[in-house]
């Protein structure tokens, strides 16, 4: 028998009625205890935050000190129009205020300072970290910090550029219940994930032809941005020759032909720079929100471990990128 304190409140039951019918009251209770950190608020991150706040996570901490600009709000509906007039508020402050309004049952707060300035113990306050657009160096650093904590801190990174969106997931070790297709009984399963660095180390020659080309194209862009010291997303068509030369170097190291990464894909990604397309943000933010809900409620098989979407062909593809020694798992 459940004790009364474990029951959802009447208010929770009324508001979450439709979703409890999908994932059950037990999953809802687990979700309501999840503590989430968000670093860097782009359009797709705003979408994700909306989804998890509506779903009823426990608490959300937003980190993004950048000042509110027109550009920053281009794909972000959490910014009211009258905030744009340079009132000196940070993006995190403005977005937190909108999100609180979405669901008063979720605690939304703002953490100031850059993520690299935080001690590793900082992560102990969270069950999951979501990183918006950031350099590959910072992403791997934060991922490693999450992995060192005594309790599991799940790690997600997400970015949308033009028609393309990408996700990375590291749940370390994860137990969940899932109903398999064609089976009525939910079974307990355990899976493990490689870190971002481990996934990056997987040789390109081990992928097959059907692997999403975005996996490689975005790697080249990551390396380029770090290599020439660009702010992530700060690139244009003029950078194409440089990107092609990065492709040459990286393909040589990986022992694959240059044609492995199509030039027109690099061209496309270079020309859109850091622009986010709102419909693509909605799609990726929807998928990420759902993944977070699955992981925090320990219900449903999580996506492992990359996801790519390109509106040009409309495919949303999962790529499982794990070192060969983890394959057995």
């Amino acid at each position: 028998m459940e004790s009364v304190s474990e029951l959802l409140t009447e208010q929770e039951a009324a508001i979450y009625d439709r979703q409890i019918r999908i994932w059950g009251a037990d999953a809802q209770r687990k979700l309501s205890k999840a503590r989430i950190l968000v670093v860097g608020i782009t359009g797709v991150v705003a979408e994700t935050c909306k989804n998890i706040v509506l779903a009823g996570i426990g608490s959300l901490v937003l980190m993004d000190d950048s000042p509110m600009t027109f550009e920053a709000s281009a794909a972000n509906f959490l910014v009211p129009f009258d905030e744009l007039e340079g009132q000196g508020n940070s993006i995190a402050t403005v977005c937190a205020s909108s999100l609180r309004d979405f669901n008063p049952m979720v605690q939304v707060s703002v953490e100031e300072g850059g993520i690299s300035s935080k001690p590793d113990e900082f992560y102990d306050r969270f069950d999951a970290v979501i990183m918006g657009r950031s350099s590959i160096t910072l992403r791997t650093q934060v991922n490693e910090a999450c992995r060192k904590r005594p309790h599991r801190v799940a790690f997600y990174s997400v970015d949308c550029r033009g028609t393309c969106g990408s996700l990375f997931v590291d749940l370390q070790r994860h137990s969940f219940t899932s109903k398999k297709a064609g089976d009525d009984k939910a079974a307990q399963q355990d899976i493990s994930f490689p870190s971002l660095q481990e996934a990056l180390n997987v040789p390109w020659s081990s992928f097959n032809k059907r692997t999403s080309k975005l996996l490689f194209a975005l790697r080249i862009i990551d390396q380029f941005e770090v290599g020439v010291g660009r702010r992530p997303g700060q690139l244009s068509s003029q950078d194409l020759p440089d990107l092609i030369s990065y492709r040459g170097k990286m393909c040589a190291i990986q022992k694959v032909p240059e044609s492995f990464v199509p030039e027109n894909l690099l061209q496309k990604l270079a020309s859109v720079g850091g622009t986010e397309l709102p419909p693509v943000c909605a799609i990726i933010g929807g998928i990420l929100g759902q993944e977070l809900i699955k992981a925090m409620s320990c219900k449903g098989e999580p996506l492992k471990n990359f996801f790519f979407f390109d509106a040009s062909d409309g495919k949303g593809i999962i790529e499982c990128v794990v070192p060969s020694q983890m394959n057995d798992h």
């Binding site: 439709r18 098989e301 495919k315």
Partner: protein, 626 residues
């Protein structure tokens, strides 16, 4: 995508959104962010608390207000420059006619019921405006594109018809909880608190007994049995009703031995065997006669957890308490109550009555939470799927507006990856040359012309199966039926007098070989029905006593032959937990397999599909939803 010309094109195009619910809120936000400047939005619903977990443009303080209007206000806060026209009304209203539709470059649907979807499909075909159609259920969703003459229309492929339970399954031989819920909702609740003038089969006996003369003077046939008698307390009344419907009626049914030869015999339930006498003979409390629409038996009985399954005693207490509370606190509703899933007391009554009946028939009981989902045909809806689907709708709209129609795709959002994909694009199919909506395929109506009336044909076939709203029926050049406010009184009377005549007794008998023409001017819809007389129908499979065939969408039964092209992957057989019938008359979202919503009175013993989950999901996954 994203070029300057495209941006300008998007800014000047005018789009129509139908539905401001789960998908609608997401869609309006994404359209505004994407740069759309001229948006019309139609929704007839008002905001409810259970919308707030996903319809993020709404707040608790908005409950009861127009969805379309509140959604508009909310979006203007972050994109004040967008010209949004909010219509709080039914898309089927006459003001939204073909000319209204013609002003738009594209129509985007975020609807929750088949009836409205079909209507919009027909108007889009008539106005020549492309349609992007969508739906979600739980983790599943789909977006489809319909361009007249180029791709299939929304009705080119079969839609599952609503499940009709044979009357005797509901009244005499339930075998699943849903049968008991239909009984509790459509018969017990309606009999006690609903419109007394409606036909109600709560007392229908097995047919053999109905003929037995001996039965005619039994307590059962007094028409006012279910009325509170002079001098009777509500407790006494509730107890009398209990013993009657769970005890006496079951005993009566047991006398029909034939029924139980191959079935488990039900156990009659009487109050004195379930509750200690002091409980149900207790004097009622004298005071507290203040009307209160939010009163709840669970609260007064101290039952806290809606997910717990009550035992027989608890169900009996809830049953008695709900009746008492209806009479004492909801007396204004008595005589006109219609089941509503947001009416707590009605849900409590239906749960208790269904469970008691289930117990009697050896069917496992369920919690109020589950029973509510079944009784209310609640769609499982979450924000994340709606957000994805809205994004996909906008991508298709962009292709349509920038004339890249060859790039249009139908996209399925799935729970378990299929060929590594969570978002699965498929090329739209060509129009179905046998579609009765977008091509002119005649239909065959098999009916017993001697017993069936024109009213039967209109209600069961034209409105329900063919989705015709205001039918005009012609036989050759003579008009047999039409509706409309501008109809002359004598003509209206003439049509009314014909309605209850059997087809064969029409002035020019309607029987095998006759071709009827059916039109709906509002929908610009027309089709011909070839009548074929048939003597008998299978009560289980054809409870309407009619069969419509041809390549007609809604009548095809949902079976495995409907598997679509890409279903080869078994991954597509996703599961929906707790899958019950779906069709939600107020809830935004979804729905691929949502059957028609019928007005309460017309609805009688019908419920939605209760196909096995596997089958239903195949349907959901593909053809049915397109």
């Amino acid at each position: 995508m994203g070029s300057e010309e495209e941006r300008i094109a998007i800014e000047k195009e005018k789009v129509l959104m139908v539905g401001a619910g789960g998908i609608g809120c997401e869609l309006l936000k994404t359209l505004a962010l994407t740069g759309f400047k001229h948006i019309h939005l139609i929704d007839m619903d008002t905001i409810e608390v259970s919308n707030l977990n996903r319809q993020f443009l709404f707040r608790k303080s908005h409950v009861g207000q127009s969805k379309a209007k509140v959604a508009r206000e909310a979006v203007l806060k972050f994109r004040p420059g967008v010209d949004i026209v909010a219509h709080h009304g039914n898309v089927k209203n006459a003001e939204f006619d073909i000319d209204f539709f013609k002003q738009f470059s594209v129509v985007l649907n975020g609807l929750d019921n088949l009836e409205a979807r079909r209507h919009v499909n027909r108007l889009c075909l008539a106005a020549g405006v492309p349609l992007v159609e969508s739906g979600t259920t739980g983790y599943l969703g789909q977006v489809t594109v319909h361009i007249k003459g180029k791709t299939e229309c929304y009705e080119c492929q079969p839609k599952p018809a609503p499940k009709s339970y044979p009357v005797c399954t509901i009244t005499s031989t339930p075998s699943k909880l849903i049968h008991c819920i239909v009984w509790a909702k459509e018969l017990a609740l309606a009999k006690l608190f609903g419109d007394k003038s409606q036909v109600n089969e709560l007392d229908v006996r097995p047919s053999v007994l109905a003929d037995a003369k001996a039965d005619t003077n039994e307590v059962g046939n007094d028409a006012d049995f279910f009325e509170l008698r002079r001098g009777e307390s509500t407790w006494q009344f509730a107890g009398r009703v209990f013993d009657r419907i769970f005890g006496y009626n079951i005993e009566t049914a047991l006398q029909n031995e034939d029924t139980w030869k191959a079935r488990r015999r039900p156990d009659p339930l009487y109050l004195d065997k379930i509750l200690p006498p002091e409980e149900f003979t207790a004097e009622e409390n004298g005071n507290g006669e203040i009307e209160n629409p939010t009163v709840s038996a669970m609260v007064t009985l101290g039952l806290k957890n809606p997910q717990k399954i009550w035992d027989v005693q608890e169900n009996a207490r809830v049953f008695l308490e709900t009746i008492q509370l209806f009479f004492k606190r909801r007396s204004k509703d008595i005589g006109k109550l219609v089941f509503d899933k947001d009416d707590q007391l009605a849900v409590e009554f239906v749960t208790a009555a269904a469970n008691l009946r289930a117990h009697s028939f050896g069917i496992p009981m369920q919690s109020l939470f589950e029973a509510k989902g079944m009784a209310g045909n609640i769609i499982h809806a979450i924000a994340t799927t709606n957000a994805c689907i809205a994004g996909l709708i906008v991508l298709e709209a962009l292709k349509l507006l920038t004339k890249r129609t060859e790039q249009c795709r139908m996209t399925y959002c799935v729970e378990h990856p299929t060929r590594k994909m969570l978002l699965v694009p498929v090329e739209p199919a060509e129009p179905n040359p046998h579609c009765y909506v977008c091509s002119e395929t005649p239909l065959v109506l098999e009916v017993n012309t001697v017993t069936a009336t024109m009213r039967d044909v209109i209600e069961k076939v034209l409105k329900r199966k063919l989705g015709v709203d205001s039918p005009v029926i012609m036989q050759g050049s003579s008009l047999l039926y039409e509706t409309g406010d501008d109809l002359e009184e004598d003509m209206a009377a003439h049509y009314a007098s014909l309605l209850n005549k059997s087809l064969a007794s029409y002035p020019t008998p309607i029987t095998t070989g006759v071709v009827l023409t059916v039109e709906d001017y509002h929908q610009d819809f027309r089709c011909s029905l070839h009548v074929k007389h048939r003597e008998t129908f299978d009560e289980e499979k054809e409870p309407d006593g009619m069969l419509i065939t041809g390549d007609i969408a809604s009548v095809v039964n949902t079976d495995d032959t409907l598997q679509p092209k890409i279903v080869a992957d078994e991954d597509l057989s996703n599961k929906v937990e707790n899958g019950h019938g779906e069709d939600d008359d107020d809830d935004d979202d979804m729905v691929m397999f949502t059957p028609e919503t019928l007005a309460g009175a017309k609805r009688k013993l019908e419920e939605e599909e209760s196909l096995p989950v596997e089958k239903r999901l195949k349907i959901q996954q593909l053809p049915a939803m397109s």
